[in-house]
Structure formats: C-alpha cells, structure tokens
C-alpha cells in the first residue's frame, strides 16, 4: 500500500487549483480596469490593478441597501430554520418506528421536488394573501425548516442520543421541550453548524424567490442587484465581477468557518480537535452535569479517563 505519495499529491494539487479557478477568475477580473482591450493570452493578474470597481458598484446601484436586505433575510431565514428543523428532527427521533419511517419517506420525497414545479402556484397563493413583495415571501420556506434534508440531519444526530438519558430526564419531570433545549441541542453542535451553513447559503444565494416575488427596489437582495447590474451593461465585466465578489465573499467566509461540520460529518475520522466526537456516548454525562447530579470535575475526570 505504501506507494509513493507524490502522484496523489500532485493530482490533488491540480484538482485543488482547478476547483479554485472560478473564484480566482472572479476576483482577478474584478480588479481589471474597465474599458481595457481584450488581453493577449491568459491574463492571470490584470495590470494595472484597480480597486475602484468596488466603489463604483455602490455608486450606480444601492448595493449597501441590497447587502443589508440580504443580511436581514438570511438572518431571519437561518434562525427560523435552525429552530423548526431541530424541533422537527427531535420530534422525529421520539416517534415509533413505523411513524418515523413514514416521515422519512415523506421527507425524501419532498426533498426531490424542484421549486420550479411549484413556483407559479406558490406565487399565486402569496399574491392572494397579499404577501408577494414582502420579506415573508423570501423566508417562507423556513417554516418547514427550509429543506427536508435539514430535518434529517438533526434527526440522525438526535437518534444517537442515548434513549435512557431522555427517559431519566422525563422521570425527573423535565418536559420534552426542556430536554430538546438542554440536552439534545447542546449535543447537536455539528448538526447546528452544518444546517447553519447550508441554510445560510440557501437564503443568501436565493435568486428565484426575489426574482419572482419582489417589485420594490427597497426590498431587493443581492442576487437581484447582480441581475440589475447585468441589465445595465452586460459587458462591463470588472463591475459585474466586483459585485459578484461582494456577494460571494460572505458565503465563502461562512463556508470557511463552518465547513468542517459538513465535510467531516461523521465525527469519527475528524482529523484534529475531537471537540464534537462521540457526542452520543457522552450524552449521559452531559445530562447528569446539566441537572447538577454530578460535580463537573468528576465528569471531566471520567471522560478523560477513557
């Protein structure tokens, strides 16, 4: 098995470069001076480098407003999603086997339905209750946890919580809501991170909803702003790319901060800092600590002694 690592490393580096290219070209083109003739050959880094495109986009369109709108929509969407999805996932983990299976099938089926098979009538329903052209229309999917996948991610996490813990908490008179908040959620950090990241991208990147629903420019989010900019001048690449970078960087930032939860979803092979490994196994200790039965020091010692 111990063949030289070199070929694999080279392939990996090439692939990494390839997959970084779209973002690289976006940034590189955003720094190009507008109105220059086409480059000869591949222009990796434009010369001269200018930053003025970034200032320009805020001049010709209210990008600050769009940025704020996107941030508000995304914040509401993510917060609601985390609450509804984790509640639903927790509820699902408490169900009997048959009900759980049925729900699983339902969720898998829901996950498959493309928005475009529903968008017109969703639009009509919102129009009938007078809620197109509002933020509500943009965050509506959060009511159902945004995506069935998010519910399943929480469900898979909560399923690993030792049932005995839940039982003993019940005997102590804790309500299920308390158990969800005090025991289940603290153990679900990876799921919270993964769903947090995915739902951030869901709302931040959403182009179809604002395109369909919004008519007031004061409510526009960044994707619609990008479209506006394109409609104003579709060949002013530096400006378009600068706006794209402004829209992409927050998404990349959130991804960079939370990606480990998604890319190393199954805690076991987590390479470093086993912070959220084996959360199922430690659930009982956590619980005992939470209700104050065991002094914290003892909990720590026993978990270290393993």
């Amino acid at each position: 098995m111990k063949i030289s690592r070199l070929p694999k490393t080279l392939v990996s580096l090439a692939l990494t470069g390839l997959f970084i290219l779209p973002l690289f070209w976006m940034i590189s083109a955003s720094l190009r001076q507008p109105g220059l003739p086409p480059p000869r050959g591949i222009e990796w880094i434009p010369s001269p480098l200018v930053l003025s495109n970034y200032a320009r986009i805020f001049d010709i369109l209210p990008f600050g407003r769009y940025l704020l709108n996107s941030a508000i929509t995304t914040a509401i969407g993510v917060a609601l999603t985390l609450a509804t999805a984790s509640l639903a996932g927790f509820g699902m983990s408490l169900l009997g086997k048959r009900a759980r299976l049925r729900l699983l099938v339902l969720s898998a089926a829901l996950q498959m339905i493309p928005v475009t098979a529903l968008w017109l009538t969703r639009f009509l329903l919102l129009a009938w209750i007078g809620q197109t052209n509002s933020r509500l229309a943009l965050v509506a999917p959060a009511i159902m946890g945004s995506s069935p996948l998010f519910i399943l991610l929480f469900y898979w996490t909560f399923r690993r919580v030792d049932p005995a813990v839940v039982e003993s908490a019940k005997l102590d008179g804790a309500s299920l809501l308390q158990i969800w908040w005090k025991i289940a959620l603290p153990l679900a950090r990876p799921a919270l991170m993964a769903v947090g990241m995915l739902s951030f991208l869901f709302y931040w990147n959403d182009f179809i909803s604002p395109l369909l629903y919004l008519r007031s420019q004061t409510l526009y989010t960044l994707p619609v702003g990008l479209l506006q900019l394109q409609e104003m001048d579709k060949t002013n690449w530096p400006l378009l790319m600068a706006a794209s970078v402004v829209m992409t960087l927050p998404a990349v930032g959130v991804f960079a901060a939370l990606q480990r939860a998604l890319l190393w979803w199954d805690g076991e092979e987590y390479p470093e800092g086993a912070s959220h490994q084996a959360f199922g196994k430690n659930a009982k200790k956590w619980f005992l600590f939470q209700i104050g039965r065991t002094p914290f020091r003892k909990v720590r010692r026993t978990s270290e002694g393993r």
Binding site: S12, L15, T16, F19, I20, P22, L23, W25, P38, G41, I42, E43, W44, L87, A88, F90, G91, L94, R100, L101, L103, L110, M112, I113, P114, V115, T116, A117, L118, W119, L120, T121, R122, L124, L125, P141, I143, M144, G145, L176, L201, W204, N205, F207, L222, P223, L226, Q230, M241, S244, M247, T248, V252, F255, Q259, L262, L263, W265, E269, P271
Partner: protein
C-alpha cells in the same frame, strides 16, 4: 396519569407541526392549486375560467415546449453522468483522511458555495471568446476554441461544463456513503488477494449503488430547477433557443406571457414526472434494504 401519557405521546407531533404545516402550505397546497389552474384560463386578474384540456392541447402543439423538453433532456444526458462520475471519483480520492485532505475537500466544495447568480456571471466571463481566460488556454493546448455562449452548438455544452464544478453536494453524500462500508469488508477482500480494481467493482460499487441511484435521480429532478439561473443569466435561453430549458419555458409562459393556465399545465407535467421518478426510486432503493441512514 393517562392524559399525561397521552400528551407525552402526542408531543413529538407537536414538534413536527411547523414542518408538516409548512410542507402542507408550501408543497401540497401549491401542487393542488396547479392541478386546478392547469384546467383554466387565468392571467392573474379576475377569476380563472374552466377550459378543460385546452391548455394541455396548447402545450402539445407549442413548438417551444418541445424545444425546452429536448434541451432539458440533452442537458440531463450530458451533465448528470459526468457530475456523478466526478463526485464519485473525488469521493474515492478523499474518503480516507490523510495529509491536507481537509484542504482538498474544502477546495472541491468551494465552487458549490458561490451563489448561482455570481457563478453564472463568472462563467460568462470565463467563456467569453475575446476577454475570457478559457479560450487562450485551449489555444495553447492546440484545442479548438469555439465562441461558446454565442454559438448555438456550444452554448448548452458550456452550461454543462459550468455545472461540473458545482458537485459539492454529491461529493459529500458519497463521502458519507463510503464511510458506511465497513473496513472489515475491505480487509477480507485483501486477504483473498483482490486487487484494487476488483475491490472497487466487487465491494465499493455494489454497496454504493443505492447512493448513486439516489444521487442520479435527485440530479435529474433538480435539473428542472438548477438549469434556470444559468440559462437566465448566461444566455436567456439563446442563441436560437439552444439553452431554452423547461424551467425557463415555465417562467416565460407564466411571468412574461401571463399565461398561468398553460404554465401550470407544464408545471403539472414536470411535477408528475418527478413523482413517478421518486416512486420508481423508492421501490428500487427499498429492494436494497436502504434504511434509515
């Protein structure tokens, strides 16, 4: 005590209420409404007028509908196999933790994070025959350098090409799938003297089968959604309707033409195709004993 026990039993459903209500309001109800609207003439104002099968006949005789359908199929035939193969290859490469695997995985996922609108815009730049970096690169390699989005033969493959980089989701799902194959199976195979290729075809591929089918069907179905933004931003369906896909067709029929009835008829067909695919998938996967994970 009895009522307490009952409330305990019902409580899980209470937690599930927002989810189920949301699914009802945002999926079941719209689907039901499109069922009704599809049989009416409706332009958003006044009352829908019942017209029977007229919309479906109109759709059937609408050349653009067939163009959209064929384009969508062409896209699916090219993009889905390539995307799945790409995701599989990358997942196999990075399934085991090693030095810098975290970095490589993150790099693979990175294009998926880029917002669709920005992603479509950067590809119009990359593919631009005069300014973009792709054609000079192709020319140095001695390959043909078509004018991509303005050439009706190359516009659709160009959108396929762009889609090949956004495969993070499939990549992560297949990583999870690979993790579910027990190590012992591989060890046993090695003891039996199987080489790498044999291990792959005899163990990895069959055990990964349900995941691959699931992903392919999901990719097919979601292409009715994921082709909208690239087509809308990069080509507006052109040139000469070469990238006029089904979702764009629905959008233009509904929101530009205000023919809600006809659009609902097309939507209903997409919806029914989706349901059929999901049912087939479910039956297939059930046979494999693909359960809660």
């Amino acid at each position: 005590m009895n009522s307490l026990a009952r409330s305990r039993r019902l409580q899980p459903y209470l937690f599930l209420t927002p989810y189920l209500m949301g699914a009802l309001l945002l999926v079941v109800l719209p689907a039901g409404v499109s069922f009704v609207i599809a049989f009416t003439r409706y332009s958003g104002m006044g009352r829908p007028v019942f017209v029977g099968w007229q919309n479906f006949q109109w759709v059937k005789s609408d050349l653009l509908f067939w163009v959209a359908l064929i384009n969508s199929l062409l896209y699916i035939l090219q993009a889905v196999p390539l995307r799945i193969l790409g995701a599989l290859g990358l997942a196999l490469l990075y399934s085991r933790p090693g030095r810098a695997t975290g970095l490589y995985r993150a790099a693979i996922y990175l294009p998926t994070v880029i917002p669709d609108t920005a992603y479509a815009l950067v590809w119009t730049w990359i593919l631009n025959p005069f300014y973009g970096p792709l054609n000079p690169a192709l020319r140095t390699l001695g390959l043909p350098a078509p004018s991509w989005l303005s050439d009706s033969a190359w516009a659709l493959p160009a959108i396929v090409l762009a889609s090949l980089f956004q495969i993070g989701e499939g990549f992560v799902i297949l990583l999870a799938g690979l993790r579910h194959i027990p190590r012992e199976t591989y060890d046993a195979a090695r003891v039996d003297g199987a080489n790498r290729w044999q291990t792959f075809t005899a163990i990895t591929l069959p055990l990964l089968g349900p995941w691959l089918v699931l992903l392919s069907v999901r990719d097919v179905v979601l292409s009715f959604q994921s082709t909208f933004t690239p087509a809308y931003i990069m080509t507006r369906g052109g040139p000469y309707y070469a990238t006029h896909f089904t979702p764009l067709h629905i959008y233009e029929t509904a929101f530009d033409g205000m023919h809600f009835g006809e659009a609902a008829a097309v939507m209903l067909m997409v919806f029914i195709v989706t349901i059929i695919l999901v049912v087939i998938l479910y039956n297939l996967v059930e046979g494999w004993g693909f359960d809660e994970d």
